[in-house]
Amino acid sequence: MIFVSQLMGIPVIARNGDEIGVLHDIVVYINEHHYPPVGGFVVRDRRRRIFIPAQQLGALSYQAIEIDTTRISLDMFVRRDGEVLLNKDVIDHQIIDINGRRIVRVNDVQMSVFDGVYRVVGVDVSPQALVRRILPRRYGQHFVGRQVISWADAQYLASAAPVQLKVSYTRLQEMSAVDLARIVDALSFRESAEIVAALDDETAAETLEEVSDERSADLLETMDQERAADILEEMTPSAAADLLEDLDDTLAAQLLARMEPEEAEDVKELLAYDGDSVGRLMMTDVVTAFPDDTVAMVIAGLKARSELPDQLTELFVVERPDEQHDEPGFTLMGLVRVDQLLLADPDLPMSELVTDVPTVHPDEPALQAARLLGEYNLTAVPVIDDAGWLVGAISVDDALAVLLPDIWQRRGARNFG
């Protein structure tokens, strides 16, 4: 296990014993493996920087690097695609610790021989690594820390390198949206844009729902509009509505125009409501059943669906619409909890199970719905509009968002280590 920082500046010696120069940096091919192989060495001789390919390496130690050939190309070193310099682009930069779900700064890099080639195997984030590098080599080498992250468990940020670099981001998708969001908020704008660009639409949508308002607005503004629209479609309508509100009006209109008409309609409906109102927070996709439907019928109906709403805890019993009149909505009778369905006699009709439930109006403040949820120990409160139709429901999860704005704001804070 070699610490890369300790190699910097050591003499590079040719086969005939001549010193060619000192080690200036090490080139790795970042995308070639989850332990990237060393491509070669950048050697400095006065003002000149030359490149020695890894194949020409003879021996490597903290004292010197021996080259196995006498023929050296004196061409100036020029960086190529996929090449990252360890000392310049990795050490002292930030990376994402996937398992630790946090951002860390690389204090040193560990190299090891693996499959016949030197590879980057780990990143040292311990404070001892800093001390080791600051002190003269004689004293510093005694400082060895214990916080090493395997390179396979780290996500390198391409923006740390000054050139356009393609980096693989598959490991990022393993992280939960909440963790990703925290990291997106903590990074600089450029870095966070890089990460969001690497996520697929669904994951990006989930992540942006949790990212702070300011940052997500900034990200959306600089994104390709088609992509932005795709992401907005994947979000819950109320999250999309909140986000669109933070954007410039013209941009918001353009993005809405690019969205699927149905999705855009849902969002526009919500935008009609005030940001703090029930109407904005409510979910419009509620499960309904008629009073004469039996438990068995309802369960079969649910199973037949391709998708169920998130966190389904209740369904609403509504009056069967009059077939003669074309009614635009449902009239609420009451609520049946899903857990009731599981234990009830399969032939029991909904009318036997239904319970009365308080309701709210879309224009009421969300806080009011939150209070009802708490007071009556409900899992959801139905939302009834002026005409008396059931338009949606507010769940316990939404209530939390309303009751604990501080935490939500804090989570969005950019300060994070």
């Binding site: 920082s5 002292d92 930069h93 860390v104 700064r105 204090n107 984030v125 404070p127 800093l130 590098r133 600051i134 740390a160 000054p162 990074l187 600089s188 704008f189 450029r190 870095e191 702070s212 300011e214 940052r215 900034d218 503004e221 509100e245 933070d246 009006d249 005030d274 940001g275 501080d406 704001q409 804090r410 804070a413 950019r414 300060n415 994070f416 280590g417």
Partner: protein
């Protein structure tokens, strides 16, 4: 309704970092220097203040630009673009210098308290605790708002300048550039530079810009804030010089501390001037005593990589809170040491700042002209020459100052 508020908010929200940092520049040491300048040389140093104010505006704008373009703080950038030993050296000297200034702020609080007849042993601990609570309990937004309110107190200095009714002709003479071959004059110029272009201010502006998440599209608001902030700070500094220049200078009264300046104004301008001066001193010192530990801790957490952020709770960022608390505590405790040669301490602190300033300016200038880092927002051609000229002049002055200090210590 929401969109109207959102349209105004960027302007209001952006008025923050520059204003705060610039206001904090008029702290105990600053006030002592400006008052000395006025007492010793009347209005003749006003032209220097104009040049210095322009220089500060340029330097602060560069810091803010660095923050907006890279989205990273000063310490982050130093860590990522300079060798580790250079980074360590810069951070260490910044830390020590800032700690010294924190001590000087608490000295200022003590002096202001005693102007109002409150013992320093009551005022200083009380101030330290209040600052700590304010910053650790409140969210960052609330902190900034409250500090902004406090900084409005510096209007008191502007009031002072009018209260003392300066003579218009003499005042005009002060704005005409003229250099005297007088070692004290040069030294005061250097001191003015040292206290006005404090390294920590640049750090704080950049950190604040990053904290607010200002991107280049929103940068114009920030630039306005920086300009306004430095202009206001410059005006306030000028007013202090005018106030003391009109009252103390004709009488030939020299001053040793800010408290002297306030006291000296009493028989000449009535108790109002003293009272206002005291409030201004207290406000500026409290503001700086809050900003400095925060800025220093941010700086360390960026370069060393521990959790940062005032908005986090104690449990989430123990190292950050710990360092911040220690800085406040040490500052307060040292300021309370009986018999401490306070003037020597204050002077020593600004010598160190003088040493540090050229280094910091060079670092900023290098970072801002870095193509890889700044892209199209880097300094171009003529502007870069201007910047290097400022760096050169300031560095020369700082070295002169140190030279005089050492010479004074050796010869005196």
């Amino acid at each position: 309704m929401k969109s109207l508020w959102k349209r105004w908010w960027p302007y209001l929200a952006a008025v923050g970092p520059g204003l705060l940092a610039a206001s904090a520049g008029n702290d105990a040491g600053g006030i002592a220097t400006y008052a000395s300048a006025g007492a010793q040389y009347g209005y003749s140093l006003l032209w220097v203040m104009i040049l210095i104010t322009i220089a500060v505006a340029i330097v602060q704008e560069m810091s803010a630009r660095l923050g907006a373009v890279t989205g990273k703080g000063f310490a982050d950038l130093v860590r990522e673009n300079f060798p580790i030993r250079a980074t360590a050296l810069i951070m260490f000297t910044l830390f020590v210098a800032n700690l010294g200034i924190i001590v000087s702020e608490f000295v200022g609080i003590a002096a202001a308290a005693e102007l109002f007849g409150v013992s320093r042993y009551v005022a200083v601990p009380l101030a330290a605790v209040c600052i700590w609570l304010l910053i650790t309990r409140g969210s960052y937004a609330r902190v900034e708002r409250i500090l902004l309110l406090l900084s409005a107190v510096f209007i008191a200095y502007v009031a002072s300048a009018f209260l003392v009714k300066p003579d218009p002709d003499a005042l005009f003479q002060g704005f005409v550039p003229h250099v005297r071959n007088d070692s004290d004059y040069i030294m005061l110029i250097v001191a003015l530079v040292g206290t006005t272009i404090s390294p920590y201010m640049q750090l704080y502006v950049q950190s604040s810009v990053v904290e607010k998440g200002v991107s280049m599209s929103e940068y114009s608001y920030t630039r306005v804030d920086v300009m306004i902030g430095t202009a206001l700070a410059g005006i306030v500094a000028g007013c202090i010089i005018i106030a003391t220049g009109a009252t103390l200078h004709p009488q030939g009264i020299a001053i040793e501390t800010a408290a002297d300046a306030a006291r000296a104004l009493a028989p000449l301008a009535g108790t109002n001037a003293t009272w206002l001066f005291g409030i201004g001193l207290l406000g500026a010192s409290l503001l700086a005593a809050g900003i400095l530990p925060l800025a220093t801790t941010y700086m360390l957490s960026e370069s060393l990589g521990f959790e940062r952020g005032v908005s986090r709770s104690w449990a989430e960022a123990p190292v950050f809170m710990g360092v911040f608390t220690v800085l406040l505590a040490v500052g307060a405790i040292v300021a309370l040491i009986p018999g401490l040669p306070l003037i020597d301490v204050l002077v020593g602190v600004y010598v160190l700042n003088g040493l540090l300033l050229p280094i910091e300016l060079v670092v900023i200038a290098l970072l801002v002209s870095n193509q890889e880092l700044m892209g199209n927002y880097r300094n171009h051609g003529a502007y870069q020459w201007l910047v290097w000229t400022i760096v050169g002049v300031v560095s020369l002055l700082s070295l002169l100052y140190i030279g005089y200090q050492i010479w004074g210590a050796v010869a005196g």
